[in-house]
């Protein structure tokens, strides 16, 4: 075990390999408040990458409803139960990570799902069945759990310290030095499924037909062309933005990812206490209980929620959030220019420019005797 620094838990921790950060780190921000769980991202990924035999059950991208939706069943509940509670003190995680809590003879504290655990990815989540009966029985009294939910879109987190990579005894999982994308080597894998067991987010899948493990590839063929992955390009809610994230001390104010994660601290990692330094960040939902969000996104939740609620008064935040989903290209830099915001590629070329606030026309409700609808 080596000692590495994990800035998300603000301390050094043990990891199987020495710290070696990529030249650039693939990262993403999902604004949970905008997600409507239309599953267009899921289908975009499914039709692109996982339509073969043995991949029927695989959803490299999925959207689940929290707190009762899971894919696979109880993935986060199992991880948190295994690890046990751990306190945060002044932003420093005091508990053990999955690497530090590994059982004797293992590299990561993991659990292996049953095949059936993947069988019902959205069972009952949005089902209104018997809701009226439940309400008659006092559903509204079961606050807060029964009366809130939010959608959680998930892909591989392309972690800085991937548990799948640490657990593979063959070194068949690797992190690309050029962009930090984590890949399972399809030639080297021998299907031991240690990665499936180790990944707490359960984003490595076993293909029973091919006999090897497979996972989200971050659409690297698109990344190599400076384009965002399929699930980003197809997001109709425009909740997603893919880019590259710096270390906190190297954060650039004009990098969309750095600005939202490091500078404004609006977007937070998923279950940072597990210790993997995941690289998909979430703008937390404003209507869920803070205790739940604290467990899910760490101690930065209150600040992120306050910042988001005040975002309408913040011209830079409004401008940057307006850029989400406005271009298939990856935005490396952004700049607010008057009432517009522009996105630039790695070489500084402008790739998109949109108004910070869409113009609105209010039309008279009636034209003669004909009622009209207002549209923006």
């Amino acid at each position: 075990m080596a000692r590495v620094n994990n800035w998300q838990i603000d301390r050094d921790m043990s990891y199987w390999y020495a710290e070696k950060r990529p030249k650039k780190q693939f990262a993403a921000i999902f604004d949970i408040n905008k997600c409507i769980a239309c599953q267009t991202c899921t289908i975009a990924c499914k039709t692109t990458w996982t339509s073969g035999r043995g991949q029927e059950y695989m959803l490299w991208n999925n959207v689940e409803s929290k707190p009762f939706g899971f894919y696979p069943i109880a993935w986060d509940v199992h991880a948190l139960e295994l690890l046990g509670a751990g306190d945060w003190k002044d932003g420093v995680y005091q508990g053990r990570t999955l690497f530090e809590a590994a059982r004797e003879g293992e590299r990561v504290l993991g659990w292996r799902p049953a095949a059936d655990d993947y069988a019902n990815p959205n069972l009952g989540e949005d089902d209104a069945l018997d809701a009226e009966a439940l309400i008659d029985k006092g559903l509204e009294l079961l606050v807060p759990q029964a009366v809130w939910f939010f959608y959680l879109a998930r892909i591989c987190n392309h972690c800085t310290y991937p548990a799948c990579l640490a657990a593979c005894p063959r070194g068949a999982i690797y992190k690309r030095p050029e962009d930090g994308i984590v890949l399972a080597d399809q030639k080297k894998c021998r299907g031991y499924r240690e990665c499936v067991k180790a990944c707490p987010y359960k984003k490595v899948f076993f293909n029973a037909d091919a006999g090897v493990s497979q996972k989200c590839i971050g659409c690297y063929p698109l990344i190599e062309q400076n384009e965002q992955p399929r699930c980003f390009q197809n997001c109709i809610g425009k909740i997603r933005n893919q880019g590259f994230l710096s270390r906190p001390e190297d954060a650039r104010e004009d990098n969309p990812l750095d600005y939202l994660v490091h500078i404004r601290k609006l977007a937070l990692p998923l279950l940072p206490q597990l210790g993997l330094e995941p690289n998909v960040y979430y703008v937390p939902p404003i209507h869920a209980p803070k205790t739940f969000l604290h467990q899910m996104f760490g101690p930065g939740v209150e600040h992120a929620l306050a910042t988001y609620k005040a975002a309408a008064e913040d011209p830079v935040l409004v401008a940057l959030l307006s850029l989400f989903g406005c271009t298939p290209k990856t935005i490396h830099r952004f700049k607010v220019i008057g009432d517009q915001v522009a996105g630039y590629d790695e070489k500084g070329g402008e790739i998109v420019r949109v108004p910070v606030k869409e113009p609105v026309w209010v039309r008279a409700p009636m034209k003669g005797d004909v009622p009209r609808l207002n549209v923006t």
Partner: protein, 299 residues
């Protein structure tokens, strides 16, 4: 040479010949130093029938199995503790009969289930070379491995495997590779939609030519396909026991680097995976080196 002598002594401790049918009765521990003897047969090599009387001519060695407790993930729960091993050759091929207790036979691999398997390992450092570590060899000291998997045997026998076997009643709208208008185009699409097949991963090979795979290794995590498949294997599960016969050509060409050459001594070690315990990879029971020698046909 000193190292080799040390391994012989170590082999003595774990490879005790039994006195059952087929063993050389009466000479007990004195024979232990000889380890496994690959005895020449005058008749046909009994590669298919483990009950063939020819196997009675092969001295049985009871190999003690230990948990693999060196490389993570380590096996923490002890599995099958002994394996009975016999070997014969006909001057062209060697046949090994491996026999161990396993209450159930598993032949499918899923997220949560594994296949039964067994492996033979030999030093691949030449007759005068250093003896590699018995656990997967070491850098610069390769080992040669033959891995038999019940899942591969199932496939070789033409039975359904993968999702066809696991989920025969599944409903799937459409498999893109099936959309090709001709068998040729479907074959191309099948490869295109199956990356491990496209890059030549033997684990994903659509057509299996053997229930075994020939492999090499130079330490944990380095297991690699040997590039040429020469071994074969067939197992029978009966009365709570597996009996697997693995055959491999003898190395008789003078120039070629040999693994098994009549007249030369070498070593063998074995590993066993229990599918019902979800064992695979380094989660296995294994032995240390057992000395191997060739013997002429018994009169």
């Amino acid at each position: 040479m000193k190292i080799r002598i040390l391994w012989i002594v170590a082999g003595l401790l774990i490879a005790l010949p039994s006195c059952g049918k087929g063993s050389v009765g009466g000479d007990g521990p004195a024979l232990a130093a000889k380890g496994l003897t690959i005895t020449k047969v005058t008749a046909a090599l009994p590669v298919e029938d483990p009950a063939d009387p020819a196997w009675d001519d092969a001295r049985e060695v009871v190999v003690t199995l230990l948990v693999q407790d060196v490389a993570e993930p380590r096996l923490t729960e002890k599995g099958v503790e002994t394996l009975r091993l016999r070997a014969l050759h006909d001057g062209v091929r060697a046949a090994f009969r491996l026999d161990w207790a396993d209450a159930t036979a598993e032949d499918l691999v899923e997220i949560d289930q594994s296949t039964d398997a067994v492996a033979l390992e030999f030093p691949a450092t030449g007759p005068d070379g250093p003896v590699p570590d018995s656990m997967m060899g070491e850098e610069g000291k390769p080992v040669s491995i033959i891995l038999w998997r019940n899942a591969w045997q199932r496939r070789l026998m033409g039975e359904a495997y993968g999702v066809e076997a696991l989920y025969p009643n599944r409903s799937v709208d459409h498999y893109p590779p099936d959309a090709g208008p001709t068998p040729e185009s479907r074959a191309v699409l099948k490869k295109l939609y199956n990356p491990p097949v496209a890059v030549g991963n033997p684990m994903a090979a659509v057509e299996r030519i053997s229930a075994t795979q020939d492999l090499t290794a130079e330490g944990f995590g380095t297991l690699t396909d040997a590039g040429k498949q020469t071994s074969s294997g067939e197992g029978i599960h009966q009365d709570g026991r597996w009996t697997v016969i693995i055959t491999r050509p003898l190395d008789t060409t003078p120039a070629a680097a040999g693994i098994l050459r009549p007249g030369e001594t070498t070593y063998v070690s074995v590993a066993v995976w229990n599918g019902s315990k979800n064992q695979s990879g380094s989660l296995k029971m294994r032995s240390i080196w057992v000395p191997v020698r060739f013997a002429e046909a018994r009169p």
